[in-house]
């Protein structure tokens, strides 16, 4: 092995503190070192040329560059040695600027430390091997899990770039929570008016395949090449035959609460989730159907098949997007507010349905208990959010939607009285603060700063909210006809699905991105992305923005047709491996499996952390160019002479 060492002065940045002459003297004494050359700016073109020329002249096999941090110039020198005809993995670069000359003042000490660091790099590079990047074919297809506004946006953006999409949705229709909303803040656009055209577009798109009533049951493979098993539960109504005549629904004898109205109305066991549902077809609720077959008799097109069974379909995709959305925190757990106990305490989505012109009351606000018109209404913000006993985080959307609720209520009931209990008003968003101000001033809403402590029903039927006004320091009681809880939001994705996808979750169950600022939609598992409220509480605009960002990442990945990957991965010496499975359990990526009693590394899944190597009891598994012997030599080299 012929090693060349190149030492940069970085002008005076290194040379002022490190005695370069002394370093070269020492390094030239190290075994295998053929030349040690210094230059004022190695990163500049003449500096790189010195390296290129030396490789040829001295017939070098490996290079050590001691200069600034590899973060800055590793790529520069890797390319230089490639120009000289060497493989880039035969380069070791160490910092003697950030780690030495910039942090130490004593010249003798700094020189000694620089020498030790360079000796370490020489010890390592001696056992480095040349590798070529790993290449893999990419399946040009994207799986989107979740058919809410985030999933719909990703699907459309990706498909419009020419990449096929499989969109799966757990419920019988796409549209998600947004379809349930009446109007959206701060513009008061009707939610369905802006959403349903997009739903139809997704369903009609030639490159988008929509599977409703479907769930992911198994995922294997890796970036560019995932195999996904999807369980499709039976709709029991043939979509292409259903003409929405509704005869089946009329004869069905079963009555259950309608999910879409959050239990404020009823539906039958065969039903249309909501008029604009997509796919536009009835669906049989398997769990509640009594199989009386009355619907079969009346269906004019023979669309109903009560014997349809679940099927599992397999898809091969190159990327997966998680857009599983949110659910409301179960309001029953906020026992002091009496949700579930009193009919006239509703949650925010129920109130959305009450406001909606397609809702159970067609937009008139009446009490669920006695159908009396509501004149006085109290909203309780932060119901569950920012509460150590429930959700520690801020659910972000409640301040805004509560202001919207108040406004919409006042427009329907101009002489109505509205009280809102709040902790803080958080209205950071384009046009949000102005919206809140408008609601407060134009609509005469009584904002009370303080947390409501109890809700109970008085003998006259009034709902009484007891709270503490922290601005006046007084305990107050507000009597009203209806109480709306602005309940916090929680992630909907199950931990089971997360573990199937191997995606990390944060302490609340939201999907954890790689970096909150610079890589906000990528996950530590390459090829899997997140957007919408599966990631964190956010409103519709933010969900859509993030969905488009995710789509850009997906298109970026899948449009190439081939991906290349760093070859610095773990490899197994099968002669030594005993198949003990320790590495299988320590690998954070599930990249190792045991085949014929030997560990085998999936090169596309391995990210090159080396955790397996540190845990292997027999030294059978090794991270390329970070082998145990190499690091042992590094340790000895940096401590040498001591």
């Amino acid at each position: 092995m012929r090693v060349g060492v190149f030492i940069c002065h970085c002008g005076r940045n290194i040379a002022d503190t490190v005695d370069i002459k002394k370093v070269i003297e020492d390094i030239l004494k190290q075994p295998h070192v053929v030349c040690a050359i210094d230059y004022v700016y190695l990163c500049a073109e003449p500096g790189q040329q010195i390296i290129v020329d030396s490789i040829r002249k001295e017939k070098l096999d490996a290079i050590v560059v001691a200069a600034c941090t590899p973060t800055l110039h590793y790529e520069t020198f890797a390319r230089a040695i490639e120009r000289g005809g060497l493989n880039r993995y035969m380069l070791e670069m160490v910092s003697i600027r950030e780690l030495v000359s910039w942090v130490h003042k004593d010249r003798v000490e700094a020189t000694d430390k620089a020498i030790r660091i360079i000796r370490g790099a020489i010890a390592k590079v001696l056992d480095n091997k040349a590798y070529e990047p790993i290449k893999s074919r990419v399946v040009k297809k994207c799986l989107v899990i979740g058919g809410g506004i985030a999933g719909i946006t990703v699907a459309l953006d990706v498909a419009n770039a020419g990449i096929p999409v499989v969109l799966i949705e757990k419920s019988p229709t796409i549209g998600g929570k947004m379809a349930m909303l009446s109007e959206t803040f701060p513009t008061l656009d009707c939610a369905q008016c802006i959403l349903t055209p997009k739903m139809a577009e997704v369903y009609k798109h030639p490159l988008i395949e929509v599977h409703t009533l479907s769930e992911v049951v198994d995922v294997s493979g890796h970036l560019g090449n995932f195999r996904v098993k999807i369980l499709k539960r039976p709709r029991k109504v043939k979509i292409e035959l259903c003409r929405l005549c509704g005869l089946c629904e009329r004869v069905c004898p079963v009555r259950v609460p309608r999910e879409f109205d959050r239990g404020l109305s009823e539906r039958k066991a065969i039903y249309l989730p909501f008029p604009q549902a997509i796919p536009t077809a009835y669906v049989v609720d398997e769990n509640n159907c009594t199989r009386c077959r009355l619907c079969l008799k009346v269906c004019p097109t023979g669309a109903i098949d009560l014997d349809e069974k679940s099927i599992v379909v397999e898809e091969e995709v190159g990327a997966i997007v998680i857009a599983t959305g949110y659910d409301l925190y179960p309001a029953e757990r906020l026992r002091e507010y009496g949700y579930g106990l009193y009919k006239d305490v509703v949650d925010s989505l129920q109130f959305e349905r009450m406001l909606s012109s397609t809702g159970p009351t067609e937009g008139t606000i009446i009490r669920p208990s006695d159908k009396r018109e509501v004149k006085r209404i109290t909203f309780i913000q932060c119901a569950g959010s920012r509460d150590e006993a429930h959700l520690k985080y801020c659910s972000k959307i409640c301040c805004m939607y509560t202001a919207k609720h108040a406004l919409l209520f006042k427009e329907r009931v101009p002489d109505g009285e509205v009280t809102i209990f709040y902790i803080d008003i958080r209205a950071a968003g384009k046009g949000y603060e102005e919206f809140i101000k408008r609601v407060q001033e134009e609509y005469m809403i009584n904002y009370v700063r303080g947390k409501a402590s109890k809700v109970y029903q008085d003998v006259d039927g009034d709902m009484v909210v007891i709270g503490f006004d922290t601005l006046t320091g007084e305990r107050i009681e507000v009597r009203s006809d209806l109480v709306v809880l602005a309940v916090g939001i929680i992630p909907q994705m199950s931990r089971e699905l997360a573990s199937k996808l191997r995606v990390p979750l944060d302490e609340y169950g939201f999907v954890q991105e790689i970096h909150p600022k610079l890589r906000p939609v990528e996950l530590s598992i390459p090829g899997i992305f997140v957007c919408g409220t599966a990631h964190a509480p956010k409103d519709i605009s933010e969900s859509v923005m993030q969905a488009s960002a995710t789509a850009a990442k997906v298109v970026n990945l899948l449009s190439k047709g081939e991906i290349t990957k760093e070859p610095i991965i773990a490899e197994v010496d099968e002669n030594i491996c005993s198949g003990c499975r320790v590495c299988v359990t320590t690998c954070p990526y599930g990249a190792i499996e045991i085949i014929d009693d030997k560990a085998k590394v999936n090169e596309m899944l391995c990210e090159g952390c080396g955790i397996c190597e540190a845990s292997c009891p027999v030294d059978a598994i090794k991270l390329r160019n970070w082998k145990e012997e190499q690091l042992m030599n590094v340790v000895r080299a940096v401590l040498g002479g001591r």
Partner: protein, 141 residues
């Protein structure tokens, strides 16, 4: 007689603690030169043997720097692996007669250059007070 100075090896992960060390340089902070950094992919890559090898070759202290738990680790859970290994190794080392204070693990994010400096100074001080490791395993735990 030459004044004794401790020698410390610091295994720093490339993503967090190693970046913090770089930042310390960029910010022109300063810390004692007795510490020799070895940058590797992940604190979870540090095997107990590497640590022991460092002690056998004259290190008076070994520092491991990784990403903050629970979620900062670039490789999801390498920091936890490192923590478990260090925990067990400390027990073993103390049974062998070595003061376990000579081995330290710290979570240092890429932005925490100040923390890196503080940890290095603190640790160096501690090891200095413990004195040279000398012929290994001859001190009271």
């Amino acid at each position: 007689m030459v004044e004794w100075k401790p020698r410390i090896v610091a295994f720093l992960c490339r993503w967090c603690a190693g970046s913090a060390a770089e930042l310390a340089g960029i910010s022109r902070l300063s810390y004692p030169a007795e510490i020799i950094p070895i940058i590797l992919p992940c604190s979870g890559r540090v095997s107990p043997r590497l640590i022991i090898e460092a002690f056998l070759n004259g290190a008076d202290g070994v520092l491991i720097g990784g990403c903050h738990t629970p979620n900062d680790c670039h490789y999801i859970s390498g920091n936890f692996k490192a923590f478990k290994r260090v925990y067990l190794l400390k027990k073993l080392l103390s049974q062998l007669g070595m003061n376990p204070m000579r081995l330290r693990i710290e979570w240092i994010s890429a932005t925490e250059a100040q923390k890196l400096v503080r940890v290095v100074e603190e640790f160096l001080n501690e090891v200095e007070n413990l004195g040279p490791l000398g012929g290994i395993f001859h001190e009271k735990a």
